[in-house]
Structure formats: C-alpha cells, structure tokens
C-alpha cells in the first residue's frame, strides 16, 4: 500500500518504569518490522509506571498484532489501541520562525489567533511558536507557517487518552524495591 493511503492508529501502553523498557519496545518494533510513526514516553501519577503513546502506520501492520506483541513484553503492564474509541490526542510543536519584519510578525499573530498556538519567545530575528493540538491541526499550522520561514522545529509526538470513563491505569507496585529500582525519579532508558 502506498504511504498516502496509510491509516494511522494510536496505541497507549503502561510500562514498568525500569531501565531498558524503552529499548525493549523499540527493539520489538524493529525486529517485527512494525513501522513506528512516533513514540512518546513519560512518567504517570504512579511512581513505578510510565506511559507510552505509539503512533503506527496501519497500512503495514494491524493494531491487534502490535498490541499482542507489546503485551508479550514482561515489562508492559497494559496495552490499549486508543484510536479505536473516542479519545483526545495532542501533539506539541515548538516552531522557530522568521520574525524580522512587520509582515512576518503580523502573520504570526494572526495565525496564533486561528490556531491553538502562542508565541512563547520573540526576538529581532526569530520567534518561537508553540502549538498544542491534534496532529493534523499541527500539520496544518506548519503548512501555513512555512511561507513565513521556518528555521527550526521540534515536536513531542502524539499523546492520547480515551474519553470519559475509558481509563487506562494500574495500581502496580513492584515486588523489587531496592536502592536502584526505588530510584524512579529519573526515567532510565
């Protein structure tokens, strides 16, 4: 299938906050030849649990196959294909854009009114625009910023959560709480 016709889906995974877990997930995607679009990982309100959001190209692999393979990893506590149900998803981008004349500054201000975006830094030459929105909205804004002159960009990748009573959580507390495993302040990868 061509890349244009590909459909993306979003998987959320609760994983143990332990060294090497990100490596295990990345290794799984590589060796099973799953095509990963983005992967984000961060801590949760549970001290021993991190949450990953993985966006995958659905044209090449079906969601269930990825979910069952993820589930085989011992450190993966729970897996959910969140894009199969009502959900909220957000991507955050920091975009550095030319702002060295009145036209560019006006254009940026107008764009930030139309998009869920704001200017978080502005100087004589460049401004940084921050947008937090669904991925397609971020893409749309990038297209509109492009003619002004993008010089640098960074994106977090998508994070997602099911709406309403759809809750993906665990009360997991590890059996091993020794000096190193207890050191959950730093997410070790």
């Amino acid at each position: 299938m061509s890349e244009q016709s590909s459909e993306k889906f979003t998987i959320a995974a609760l994983v143990e906050n332990k060294p090497g877990v990100l490596n295990r997930v990345a290794s799984l995607f590589r060796r099973r030849n799953f095509n990963m679009d983005s992967l984000t990982v961060g801590r949760t309100h549970r001290p021993f649990v991190s949450r990953m959001t993985i966006v995958v190209d659905g044209a090449r692999t079906d969601a269930r196959r990825i979910a069952t393979n993820l589930y085989k990893l011992v450190n993966v506590i729970d897996v959910k294909v969140v894009s199969q149900e009502p959900h909220v998803s957000r991507d955050l981008a920091l975009i550095k854009v030319r702002s060295d004349d009145a036209d560019s500054r006006n254009a940026l201000t107008l764009l930030c009114e139309r998009y869920p975006a704001r200017i978080v830094d502005i100087g004589a030459k460049y401004a940084i625009v921050e947008i937090t929105a669904p991925e397609d909205v971020v893409e749309a804004m990038i297209r509109e910023l492009d003619p002004i002159g993008i010089v640098e960009m960074v994106r977090t990748g998508v994070v997602a959560m099911g709406r309403g009573t759809r809750i993906l959580d665990t009360e997991y507390v590890p059996q091993l709480i020794s000096s190193n495993n207890g050191n959950h302040q730093a997410y070790s990868v």
Partner: protein
C-alpha cells in the same frame, strides 16, 4: 543468613529443583563457580564451548519439560551462548542462562571481556535481566524460572556483575505469589469462542487437526487423541509436534510441510476445516501462504495471542492453554465419521507407499532412509532421538515414527546445525534411563564435535550416529534443484570419524552396508558411555517429497514411482 550473591544463585537454583548446570567458567563468573564448591548436589557439566552449554540446557529442557540451566562468563562466554539461546527461543524451550558481567562500576567502559549481553540477547530471549543490586537477585532468579517455564516457554538470561556475585546480603527466599503485572499468559477460551469452534468442528466434512509442539508442552496428548477419535478427524503433525499422538495411530497422517508426507499436504489443501493446535503456521509448514488451505475454515488455538492471525488468517482464534481449551471443546464434540474423507487420505498414503525409497532395491549403496528405518526397527521405535539439521533430520522425521512425547528433540524453528550432539548430552542428563541416539550429519557434527570430550568426561551414555554423505546434503539438494547442480561449497572432506572417536577414547564402528545395521545397534548397546557409529551413505540422495520454498503446498516434487521417468 548473610550470603554472597554467588551463594544466593546456588540457593535459588536448588529451590527451583535444578540438578545439573551446563557451563564454562571465566573471570566474571568465578565467584559463582567458587560457590559451587559448597553445593555439591548441583552437578556442573564442563562443556567445551558455551554454545554447547546452551544446547545441552535446551536438550535437557525438551527431554524433561523442566528448565535447563546454562552458565557462562561475560563477553565471549556470553556471546557464545547466543546461537543456543536463539534456538531455544524459536522452539519455545525453557532455559535460564546465567552470565557473569564486569563489575557495575566498569559497565559501559569497554572493560576486558565486557559485552552488553542483555542488549545482545534482548530479541532472542523471552525476557532478560541485568542485576544491579544483590538484594534483587533472589527475586529475579525466581521470576526468571517462572517466566521461562510458564505461558509460551522460552529462554531467560540473567546477567550478574562480578561485584554483585561477591556482595553479601541477608538471604530471605521470596516465598509466595510472583507478582508480574505485565505477565499474564492466557488460560482458557471464552464461551463464544468455544461455541464458534464447536459449530465448525461438528459441521465439518473434511476436517484435519494440525498438532504442534504446544500439545506436548501443555501435556494435551490424551485430549488431542480423544478429539481426533471421537470426531474421526485425521491428525497431521509439525516437526516439533511429533509425539503429540502415536505416529502409528490410524488417524495420523504424520508430518506436514516442506518435507512432510504428501498425504498430509494434500489433505490440508483439500480440507474444509483446519484445527490448528499449538502450532504457528511456520513458512516451512504452509508453503505459499496465498494458496494455503484455500477451502478450509480455520480454528487456531495457541497460548501466544500474537501468533493468531500472524501468518494465516483464521476464523476462530483462541489464545489459551491448549489442554484447557481442548477440555472446553470435548463435551460439545459430536461423535461422527468421515469415511470418504479418510478413504481419500488412505489413497494418497498408498500412492506414497509405492514411491517409498525403501521399495527401491538396496543394490550397493546404503541409503539414509534405510539407516534411520533400521535404527527405528532395532531400537523398537522406542529411543529418544536428537537430530542435527539437514537431510538426515528430515529423513529421521519421515522414517522414525515416534510414539511418545518428547522423544524427538530437534532444532525446528532456527534450524541450528551443531545442535544434535550437545542437545543429546543434555537430554541424556534429563532422561538417564532412556536410550538416547544423536542422529547427526557429517556437517553439523563438525560444528560442535568438541563436546565429544564433554561426553567422555561425564561418561554420558549416548549413541552418536553420523550419517555421512560427504556433502552438506540439504544445501546440495537445493543446488541440484534450483541452482543447476552447481555444487559449490557443499562437498565436504571430513576427518576419519572413527579415528577421531579413538582420539577421544570413544569406541566406534563404521557401517557401509545394510547387513551391519543390527550389529551397529548391538554394538551401541554393549557400551556404557559415549560411542560413535559412522554410517557411510549414498552421497547424492534427495529428500522427497519437497515443497520448494514459496511454492504451493500441494505442488510437491515427488519421488518417481518405480519404473516412472525421473522428472528433470
């Protein structure tokens, strides 16, 4: 009780019921080797190469169903395990590998004999651990054994830095439930799945069961047999599924796939229902996936949910323990007959019998099929056979029918040459009262023949049968069929195997004609300890039938019937 990490390893192995460990010492694992001196009840077998240790642990595990243990040092010791670990992974064999690692402070510094072994083995283990606190060690070993033997079994590696082995801690064995929130192997089918499967089973006209390794690992032999007999469903076996049901059972069509029985393959292609139990539709079993079993609805039961719909789309996919699921099926399975279907399979089997190489006159040369068939005959079909990989492996599968589970041990998924001899040593440790035959080719044997010394040092009572055709036979066969007989890098000069055996102090015999077959088995049985028999066979044999890689399963290259023209 204050113990060192090394002593904790020994204490934990004892509590897991370990009786034998296969390993090789080295700098980073020396504290553990020193601790072994205090635990004489844990027998250590010194191998000659760490690959052998992993294969021995694997052979032990497959023969017994218990977890095999391999031990190696850091760096090259650990990397030498890799082929053995990958072999165990592909065939779902429960082994635990314990490797030494450089001290924690040195990790990441490219220290002497340092390798990122948890990184290297990550894709070929079910799970692995780098222990960075001696307080974790007992939990980790317990978890490792649990993960290795439950669910879909597999290898687990524990990498233990040298200073963790030396560190002391209060040893309290972690009793009670193992809490692994992300590890919940499936157990049973839900009611809808059972009903859907039963509807298909009870309405099928041309059903066939595909029985795999999962049957013997789950101990579901009697359930399988009951299902087959009650609904009169023919049973075809994967290579690793051999022993799931006695191969002389009238409903059994024997092996399927690339070198399977033609009757099995034709039946799969004509079946209207496939009941796949504890098997994974490997490409060597399906041939061209697009034309595979085109007429069949499919039920697939496997303990690994990720196997369902992986290679073959199925109508009813059930993630569960095959014994439990079959027990859920059985009350709803109706007693039926499929006389026409079974008669059709009989016709295919009769056609195959006419093509059987054993029907060909013996003339001068010894054929590998004759060797295997005679070994089967003179061992009363009751030996535990461990094969290597190649033509002799397929000939074993075809000409040595197995009646009991875990009596054929072979590297199926990875196809690891060199597996045979070490795996046989491990199997014999697991089944000391069984007659164990390592059936190996001249190529594979030479990959791990250093383990002859291990067999001598431990006086392991195994029979090593080398099927010597002076070729890498299976590769030669592919060259004959698909590379216009350009036999490049397949003719093989070997040492005089009998003299080699003599150098190791191993009694040996060379067999060059069929009249010596019975004598060779008697010779083997007359010696307590390792012995080697070289069977010098025809050089350019072909294993028939053959489904060329990627071809349709029914498009087999068949052996011509006597009097038929050989297809060129």
């Amino acid at each position: 009780m204050l113990l060192t990490g090394a002593e904790i390893i020994m204490e934990c192995l004892l509590r897991e019921g370990v009786e034998v460990m296969f390993g090789y010492p080295g700098g980073a694992i020396l504290p553990t080797y020193d601790a072994m001196t205090k635990y004489p009840q844990l027998h250590h077998v010194l191998v000659r190469h760490e690959q052998g240790a992993a294969h021995m642990a694997d052979g032990y595990a497959r023969a017994t169903g218990r977890v095999g243990v391999a031990i190696a040092t850091s760096g090259p010791g650990a990397t030498n395990l890799v082929t053995g670990i990958a072999t165990a992974m592909m065939d779902s064999s429960p082994i635990v590998c314990i490797t030494g690692q450089v001290t924690r402070g040195a990790i990441g510094s490219d220290a002497f004999q340092e390798t990122d072994v948890t990184g290297v083995t990550l894709p070929i283990t079910k799970h692995n651990y780098l222990v960075d606190d001696v307080a974790d060690l007992a939990y980790i070993i317990r978890e490792a054994f649990h993960i290795a033997r439950t669910g879909r079994p597999g290898p687990v590696l524990i990498d233990v830095p040298k200073d963790v082995q030396n560190a002391q801690t209060e040893f309290i064995y972690p009793e009670g439930e193992i809490r692994l929130p992300g590890y919940r192997p499936p157990t049973q089918a839900n009611q809808e799945e059972v009903s859907a499967a039963l509807e298909l089973i009870n309405s099928a006209q041309r059903p066939i069961i595909l029985a795999g390794h999962g049957i013997t690992m789950a101990g579901a032999m009697s359930e399988l047999r009951e299902l087959a007999e009650r609904a009169q469903i023919p049973v075809s076996l994967t290579l690793l599924g051999k022993g799931a049901i006695p191969e002389n059972h009238p409903l059994v069509t024997r092996m399927m796939g690339m070198h399977g029985e033609a009757a099995s393959n034709y039946a799969i292609q004509e079946a209207d229902l496939i009941i796949a139990l504890g098997m994974r539709f490997d490409d060597r079993v399906t041939g061209n996936i697009k034309t595979y079993a085109p007429n069949a609805r499919k039920i697939h039961v496997d303990i690994d949910a990720s196997e369902l719909n992986k290679n073959v789309k199925v109508d009813v996919g059930i993630a569960g323990d095959v014994k439990t699921v079959l027990r859920q099926f059985l009350p709803g399975v109706k007693t039926t007959q499929h006389p026409q279907w079974i008669a059709r399979i009989r016709d295919w089997q009769e056609d195959s019998n006419e093509r059987d190489v054993l029907q060909v006159g013996t003339e001068s040369k010894l054929l590998s099929a004759q060797v295997i068939n005679d070994l089967w005959h003179f061992t009363e079909g009751n030996a535990v056979t461990i094969t290597d990989v190649g033509q002799h492996q397929m000939v074993e599968a075809q000409y040595y029918p197995h009646q009991r589970p875990s009596t054929l041990i072979t590297s199926g998924g990875l196809g690891t040459m060199g597996f045979g001899l070490p795996a046989a040593i491990g199997a014999k440790f697991g089944k000391p009262d069984e007659e164990v035959w390592a059936i190996v080719g001249d190529g594979g044997f030479q990959m791990t023949l250093c383990e002859l010394a291990t067999a001598v040092q431990e006086n392991v009572n195994i029979n090593i049968a080398i099927i010597n055709n002076a070729f890498l036979g299976m590769v030669r066969q592919w060259q004959e069929f698909f590379y216009e007989e350009r036999y490049h890098a397949t003719p093989m000069i070997s040492p005089d195997f009998c003299k080699l055996a003599e150098a190791y102090g191993i009694p040996s015999m060379r067999v060059t004609n069929r009249e010596q077959m019975e004598e060779s088995v008697q010779f083997a049985r007359s010696i307590n300890g390792p012995k080697l028999i070289e069977y010098v066979v025809e050089k350019e044999e072909i294993v028939y039938p053959m489904v060329p890689a990627g071809a349709d399963l029914h498009n087999m290259i068949r052996r011509p019937k006597p009097g038929e023209e050989v297809k060129s």
